[in-house]
């Protein structure tokens, strides 16, 4: 059976929607492809706080998900850091089985970022994509007005914005899908609002390959 866990680390409040868009769109496409999929917000650490780490989880399987009610992804195969600096902060590699993928939003190269990554031996690939730049994201705050509207869903309320990945989520989704093939490109592409950034990321992303060892 194939079972994949995707964990997205993002910053509370200010980049909450970005993280949510990634897991939502990926799991939605997985459903369209007939797989069993689940996307959820971190609950244990709610209410989240500005700049605090919050995690979004996605689980995809070809069998029914029996661990639907567990709080966290214990063995993420794919980890996404929506904000590059988080690479310095936590053991986001914890529980990752060998052959995992780490995707970071940063203008730095994988070679540079490598120094901050714990447990590299488990990695099959380290992907860096300058999502903020590709999506013309005014770091960290932009268009306060619309941001205000998005904020309303940070506590897991109904999604207000009809747009999926209007901003830095788009290039990151592109990186996830292209580097891991977790879902088919053609199923996810139509969902993405920021097509331009999505397309650019496919070519601009920098991938570094490894030969992972079991730990």
């Amino acid at each position: 059976m194939s079972y994949t866990e995707l964990t997205v680390w993002t910053r509370g409040i200010i980049m909450d929607k970005e993280g949510r868009d990634i897991v939502n769109s990926v799991s939605a496409s997985a459903r369209l492809e007939g797989k069993y999929a689940q996307a959820m917000e971190n609950y244990v650490d709610n209410p989240d706080r500005t700049n605090a780490p919050t995690r979004k989880y996605c689980r995809i399987s070809d069998r029914v998900l029996e661990n639907e009610l567990t709080y966290e992804n214990e063995h993420p195969n794919i980890v996404v850091l929506v904000e590059g600096t988080m690479v310095k902060g936590w053991d986001y590699m914890r529980g990752m089985p060998p052959g995992g993928t780490l995707i970071i939003n940063t203008h730095y190269s994988p070679e540079y970022m490598l120094r901050f990554v714990p447990g590299v031996e488990r990695l099959a690939q380290l992907v860096c994509v300058d999502a903020a730049h590709l999506a013309h994201h005014k770091w960290l705050y932009y268009r306060l007005g619309e941001l205000g509207l998005d904020r309303l869903s940070t506590e897991g309320a109904a999604e207000r914005s009809k747009l999926i990945a209007p901003d830095i989520a788009a290039p990151l989704i592109a990186a996830v899908v292209k580097s891991t093939g977790i879902v088919k490109m053609e199923t996810i592409t139509p969902m993405i609002a920021n097509k331009n950034a999505f397309e650019m990321a496919l070519t601009e992303m920098k991938i570094m390959q490894f030969n992972p060892v079991a730990v």
């Binding site: 706080r49 007005g145 509207l149």
Partner: protein, 354 residues
């Protein structure tokens, strides 16, 4: 009856940081009752306030924290940033729990069960606790005149639970319980409860004041005045909520100034001896409310007429403060002279929930 007399602290008032043209903060107490390592938002207004307040109070202090951000975020996972005794209490128990602590120390010192100067007893209630669920208990504590200071750190909403409207949420403020939509373009329709004035009017024997994190020394001095006041004191402090107001984190202090300069948060003191309001505080300059609103995402959806409505509200407050209104502000109260906020259109487009 022969009893031990209760000795009470007298805290010195800090000097004004503006010494002529020079800006230089007065010497601050070295003790740090509030230490780093808590889960409040980056740039959290209430925790700025908490830090200043506790620093002003010093080490012989007991803090009471009704449910709210300053409980959930500060004392997460049994990690506490409080270097003085701190106790959580129910959100509706702000005043009563504090009264209990005060009464206990009165009795214990009097009966020789605790030796030392009567501690500063401070309750840090959010606006939800102070203006809604805990209103009666705070009123009770003030009315009974326990020697304590009750502070309302007013971030104008229930932030801890994920930004819901409180009776302190301003007109037009977007929260998860007052979202804008085609039917309700302004989000919140009601104007905030004038809590501080209510406390002053209802408990004229108490020291009551409003303050803002935008004026730290003023805030710290009011804390000390409140503590030096023999009996109950009530302090209402404007503390911007980064998460709910939606602004750039560095602006926390700035907002504290602008809100006052826009007349949306009058700074005053109630003098219990003279039984009169002291409106002498004047900000450096006076601005139209739009300059405050445009800094925050929670107002991003407002239309011209809503902004004008808020300006009217602000103008009334200025009048109350006895300020001669500049022509610009009178003009600003006319919708014709206002423009919609950036996201006013999106607010309607987005409104349909998925």
């Amino acid at each position: 009856m022969a009893t031990i007399e209760v000795q009470r602290q007298v805290l010195p008032i800090l000097a004004n940081p503006n010494q002529g043209a020079r800006f230089y903060n007065p010497e601050l107490p070295s003790s740090e009752p509030f230490v780093p390592g808590h889960r409040t938002c980056a740039g959290c207004g209430p925790s700025i306030q908490y830090r200043m307040t506790s620093k002003a109070a010093g080490d012989n202090t007991i803090l009471v924290g009704p449910t709210g951000c300053m409980y959930v975020a500060n004392s997460s996972y049994l990690c506490t940033p409080y270097n003085v005794p701190w106790a959580h209490t129910q959100i509706g128990s702000a005043g009563s729990f504090t009264a209990g602590v005060a009464a206990a120390y009165e009795a214990m010192i009097r009966k020789g069960k605790w030796k030392g100067q009567y501690p500063n007893i401070i309750c840090e209630a959010g606006d939800g606790s102070a203006s809604d669920i805990g209103l009666a208990s705070i009123s009770g504590a003030l009315y009974r005149n326990h020697d304590c200071l009750i502070i309302c750190y007013d971030n104008e909403q229930y932030a801890n639970t994920g930004i819901q409207a409180s009776s302190r949420t301003p007109y037009g403020g977007m929260t998860t319980f007052s979202p804008p939509g085609p039917e309700v373009p302004e989000g919140k329709k009601l104007f905030p409860k004038d809590l501080a004035r209510m406390m002053a009017a209802g408990h004229p024997h108490c020291y009551v004041a409003t303050a803002s994190v935008g004026y730290p020394i003023d805030l710290m001095n009011k804390v000390r005045k409140g503590l030096n006041h023999r009996g109950a004191a009530y302090l209402m402090v404007y503390t911007p909520c980064q998460k709910g107001f939606v602004y750039e984190t560095p602006r926390s202090i700035d907002l504290g100034r602008v809100v006052v300069e826009c007349g949306l948060y009058p700074i005053w003191e109630w003098n219990p001896e003279k039984r009169e309001f002291d409106y002498s505080f004047r900000p450096q300059n006076i601005r139209p409310v739009s300059e405050y609103l445009k800094l925050q995402g929670r107002f991003g959806h407002l239309h011209a007429e809503h902004i004008a409505t808020m300006q009217k509200f602000a103008n009334e407050q200025w009048k109350m403060m006895g300020v001669e209104l500049p022509e610009a502000l009178l003009q600003a109260a006319d919708p014709k002279n206002q423009v919609n906020m950036a996201a006013a259109a999106e607010a309607e487009a987005i409104a349909e929930t998925v």
